[in-house]
Amino acid sequence: MTQALAFKRPSVIPGFGIAFGFTLFYLGAIVLIPLAALILRAAGVGFAEFLTLATDPRVTGALKLSFGASFAAAAINVVFGFLVAWVLVRYDFPGRRLVDAAIDLPFALPTAVAGIALTTLYAPNGWIGSLFTASGPLGFLFGESGLKIAYTPLGIVVALTFVSLPFVVRTVQPVLEEVDIELEQAAATLGANRWQTITRVVLPAIVPALLTGFALALARAVGEYGSVIFIAGNIPYVSEIAPLLIVIRLEEFNYAGATAVAAMMLGISFIMLLVINLIQAWSRRRFGHGA
């Protein structure tokens, strides 16, 4: 009974006090107190003024763009991330190990470098961007004026797809490796064709992993700043993301404005991750164990 009430289970291994104390102190000083300062500042603004600041059309426009573009990028990565994971796990081709190692590049390559490289590529005179201009080989697919990628919201989606690319691949890959091949053989024996086996047997097993990957990609993309600002064009109301608006408000020394945008971002992210967690819990019950 006393053990159940105790904060810590007794152990012969020493050093808990100092390790735990240091962990709390460090976490408090670096993360918790600074974040508390943000919440305190947002609360200090007052409810009426906070509402005015947070519902400013420029702020809502930036928030919509940030969350919308992140959603699009995460969705692209669910489709292509699954495909890449499938190809890496199931097929063999020359250079497979190199490609596998390169998946983590967006984790290791600084975002500023990724930003200027993507902008150079997807600009109208860049290697990829020029393919889609009115005079480019693929431009006719998009009407008279072709497709402009860099300096539009589309460019933002490209940059966010880059930074969140590894998340879906790396969460799906280990689960796909564990999928029991005998289940697929059984499905085939029972008369399912390959497409039915994949959609009805393999896919349900990795749905929880896909959702986890989606959530991680979304969370990463929403906060992204470095790779986006170069390719976005940064036109207010059109291609200005929320983190950039925070920076702009700070440069104007408008601390209340910056805090309001930051608080809105944190709040929406929190609600979104909560919803995704609920969906995940549901899918785990529905599809069995996955991620």
């Binding site: 289970r9 500042r41 097929y91 190692a101 390169a102 984790f107 200027i116 790396r170 944190l266």
Partner: protein, 301 residues
């Protein structure tokens, strides 16, 4: 590949006829080829071409221009500052990671999952917000401004602020690599060491640390790559004073915005090189010490 090997015997058994039917658990060669091509095309557009572009643009004006851009005084100052910031923040987060892993993995206490969530918090906060919170604390109208005035240590628009923001952003890396591994290793080795008369320090130094050394290296590597490449958090708090508070990523931004494209890409090649080294060592560690790095395979970031 292991998977192919598993169903090869089945294929062999039916290969009495010259054209053996394809195993039921794989796709036709055409579909395979097509899926691989689409996947590689996607990766080419989003991963490989950007990397090629960095080097193509950096060397566009020749080798002399490339090296001239690197030895330019502001670029050198930025490289130096980046190294200093990483040299302070990475060891701090290394010590934190070890302490947190020791408390969480080797002991049982209430609220452990809450603590784990808090350690992961910096991953889900935008880097710009990470910079903002320190401006709100130490800036001109900040809550701790009196402390700044009293000690005379400038934090915002100075190196201490850059270090704080970097430490915030890179805080979880070492801890997240160590905790799952140390949890899986359990407490048996440490209990044996203690019962044989080792003190806490000896147990940690001679038993725990050797068990986790590769995972520790792996965490430090990722932490360092992020510390040297961090842009958003640092850009908010540094003030971007050329030659003084500009790190390499900020220097790249300034050069790019001044249309000094090949100079911006020249500095970028250094950070791209760092990324290559990081991924290279990571691949070697994963191939050779897979079991000693992560408890549940790969894919934890």
């Amino acid at each position: 590949m292991a998977l192919e090997a598993v169903h090869m015997p089945a294929a062999d058994a039916t290969s009495a006829s010259p054209r053996a039917p394809r195993p039921v658990t794989t796709e036709s060669p055409l579909v395979k080829w097509l899926l691989t091509a689409v996947a590689l095309a996607f990766l080419a557009f989003f991963l490989f071409l950007p990397l090629v572009a960095v080097f193509a643009e950096a060397f566009r004006n020749g080798l002399d221009a490339y090296f001239a851009a690197l030895v330019e005084p502001d670029a050198l100052a930025a490289i130096w500052l980046t190294l200093i910031v990483a040299a302070i923040s990475v060891p701090l987060n290394l010590v934190f990671g070890l302490a947190a892993a020791w408390a969480i993995a080797k002991h049982d206490f209430k609220g452990k999952s809450l603590l784990l969530t808090l350690i992961d918090l910096p991953f889900s906060v935008s880097p710009v917000i990470a910079g903002l919170v320190f401006v709100l604390l130490f800036g001109a109208q900040g809550y701790l401004q009196p402390l700044v005035a009293w000690t005379g240590i400038k934090i915002v628009f100075a190196i201490p602020g850059i270090v704080l923001a970097t430490v915030f952003v890179t805080l979880p890396f070492v801890a997240r690599e160590l905790i799952p591994l140390m949890q899986e290793q359990g407490t048996g080795d440490e209990e044996a060491a203690v019962s044989l008369g080792a003190n806490g320090w000896q147990t940690f130094w001679r038993v725990t640390l050797p068990n986790v050394k590769w995972a520790l290296l792996y965490g430090v590597l990722l932490c360092n790559a992020r510390a040297m490449g961090e842009f958003g958090a640092v850009s908010v708090i540094s003030g971007k004073i050329r030659g003084f508070t500009n790190t390499m990523p900020l220097q790249i931004e300034i050069l790019y915005n001044e249309y000094a494209f090949s100079a911006a890409f020249a500095v970028s090649t250094l950070l791209a090189g760092l990324a290559f080294v990081t991924l290279g060592i990571k691949a070697v560690l994963e191939a050779r010490y897979a079991g000693d790095i992560a408890a549940t395979g790969r894919g934890r970031h």
